[in-house]
């Protein structure tokens, strides 16, 4: 089984997609950060129209994540302890709160490209194997949401995304443990996943 702390299955799967990858790696602890752009005005609270498009794309990714966990549950992964169900429900909740944030711009569809690219890793009763695939997915979600924070103009969108990514980071630790890597401190604490570019969804 591939060590989840190495090159991401998800990133490799997306390398050839039309969406491509954001040409920027999320800063990890100890790296040299770029200088932030100077800001003089107080950021507005509500999502802008551009924000809404990005948040809608994030919502579609959450729905795809929810459905991937459901795929694994239906295939018999999880061992019956409720962990997969709980992670599925978390992503459903994230999609719901993003719907509330963007209101009438919310679409009902999942990110089909994301779902299809990852479904093979989830459609299995091998719990450890599914956990490894889910670990990659969650790692990319955390990286993607971190990058998204720099694109959102409204504070409320940033606040919501921050509250989501902090728990998705915890998901990674749980999944590393389920995958049998609970003693691998790099697997637990290092996220070298690359962010996935989000194409704004028009309302």
């Amino acid at each position: 089984m591939e060590n989840p702390s190495r090159r991401r299955v998800l990133a490799a799967g997306l390398a050839g997609t039309a969406l491509g990858l954001v040409d920027r790696r999320v800063a990890s602890a100890g790296s040299t950060p770029p200088s932030p752009a100077p800001v003089t005005a107080e950021p507005e609270a509500q999502p802008t129209a551009e924000d809404a498009g990005l948040l809608a794309a994030a919502r579609e990714a959450e729905l795809a994540s929810r459905d991937l966990y459901q795929l694994a549950i239906d295939a018999g992964a999880g061992g019956g302890d409720g962990t997969m169900e709980a992670l599925r429900d978390d992503h459903a909740a994230y999609a719901d709160v993003l719907s509330g944030l963007i209101g009438r711009d919310a679409t009902q569809s999942r990110d089909e490209e994301l779902f299809e690219s990852l479904s093979a890793g989830f459609d299995s009763d091998d719990t450890a194997g599914v956990a490894a695939a889910a670990y990659d997915m969650e790692s990319t979600l955390v990286a993607t949401h971190s990058a998204l924070l720099g694109q959102l103009k409204g504070r409320n969108g940033a606040k919501t995304i921050a509250s989501i990514l902090m728990v998705e980071a915890r998901h990674c630790v749980v999944l590393a443990d389920v995958a049998g890597l609970g003693d691998d401190l790099d697997a637990l604490f290092v996220n070298d996943a690359e962010p996935r570019a989000l194409t704004p969804v028009e309302g």
């Binding site: 999320v26 800063a27 990890s28 602890a29 100890g30 790296s31 040299t32 950060p33 770029p34 200088s35 932030p36 752009a37 100077p38 800001v39 005005a41 107080e42 950021p43 061992g79 302890d81 409720g82 962990t83 709980a86 992670l87 429900d89 978390d90 909740a93 709160v97 955390v142 949401h145 971190s146 990058a147 924070l149 720099g150 694109q151 959102l152 103009k153 504070r155 940033a158 606040k159 921050a162 509250s163 989501i164 990514l165 902090m166 728990v167 980071a169 915890r170 998901h171 990674c172 630790v173 749980v174 443990d177 389920v178 609970g182 003693d183 401190l185 637990l188 604490f189 996220n191």
Partner: protein
């Protein structure tokens, strides 16, 4: 008893406030006349109040505060290691978390200087005095204050770690909303995410998987203390990141059968490292 963490931060504003208060009180007494005492005595054991500063926090403030909190955790883990209650995988976990916080403090300070503020290389004294110091006393004991040593140093060391890792994660989550620079949010997110991952790992170490993975509270269930008085720790305690205060329960039971409980909050005005704060290591 010597305080566990002697003051490291003195501000010019704090010195001026003391001087100003002295002058003001003298003027008040002179105006009112009489020989009566100016103020009633304090009753009880409430800590001395520290009035909130009147400065406004900016991005530099948040980053300096973040650096100070990271360094507070480095100090915390050094003390816990000295107490020697942890071994093996638990100590390796603490060593790694300390190392991560050392690196994150450096990152926060790099961001602070990039934002035009000065680096701050001291632990957050407010947190050392009000939270970390008292917590360590309940682990090591304090005969002068009639505080017994912990009845399980390893347990309490990890519960303290869980509380402060969660607090630091919540701090960054709040700062993401507070900072004005959008770019800065991107830099803060991995720092908070790492603290959240630390907290999750501690919870799994303390508890027993898979029961320690997900809190029943995420699906509307109840979380109640066990027969020892401890609320179980979970790797995923909530569906969304929480920023509310946490109750840290540690230490040996007292005569009433209760353990030491301290609500720990994220940094606010009283614990921010404003621009005029000088670090005196």
């Amino acid at each position: 008893m010597t305080p566990p963490f002697p003051d490291a931060v003195v501000t010019r504003r704090s010195l001026l406030k003391v001087g100003g208060a002295t002058v003001s009180m003298a003027a008040l007494v002179a105006a009112c006349g009489g020989d009566d005492a100016a103020a009633p005595g304090r009753v009880g054991n409430a800590p001395v109040e520290s009035p909130a500063p009147d400065e406004e926090a900016d991005d530099g403030t948040y980053l300096r505060t973040a650096a100070s909190m990271e360094l507070a955790l480095v100090q915390l883990y050094a003390r816990l290691t000295e107490l020697g209650g942890l071994a093996g995988a638990q100590q390796a976990l603490v060593d790694r978390m300390a190392s991560d916080h050392e690196a994150n403090a450096a990152t926060a300070n790099e961001l602070a200087t990039a934002a035009g503020a000065s680096a701050f290389d001291c632990a957050n004294q407010w947190y050392l005095d009000r939270y970390i110091g008292p917590a360590l006393e309940r682990v090591a004991g304090n005969a002068d204050a009639d505080i017994p040593e912990s009845d399980d140093i390893a347990r309490d060391s990890l519960r303290i770690a869980s509380t402060f890792e969660t607090t630091v994660a919540a701090m960054y989550q709040q700062m993401i909303e507070q900072v004005r620079s959008q770019e800065l949010r991107v830099e803060l997110a991995p720092l908070g995410a790492l603290a959240a991952r630390h907290a999750a790992a501690v919870a799994i170490t303390v508890g027993e998987a898979p029961g320690s993975y997900v809190s029943p509270a995420t699906s509307g269930g109840d979380v109640t203390p066990d027969e020892s008085g401890f609320t179980p720790l979970y790797a995923i305690p909530t569906t969304f990141g929480a920023v509310s205060a946490q109750d840290m329960v540690i230490g040996a039971r007292n005569d009433a059968g209760l353990r030491f409980t301290l609500p720990v909050d994220t940094p606010a005005a009283n614990s921010y490292i404003f621009d005029n704060a000088v670090c005196a290591p």
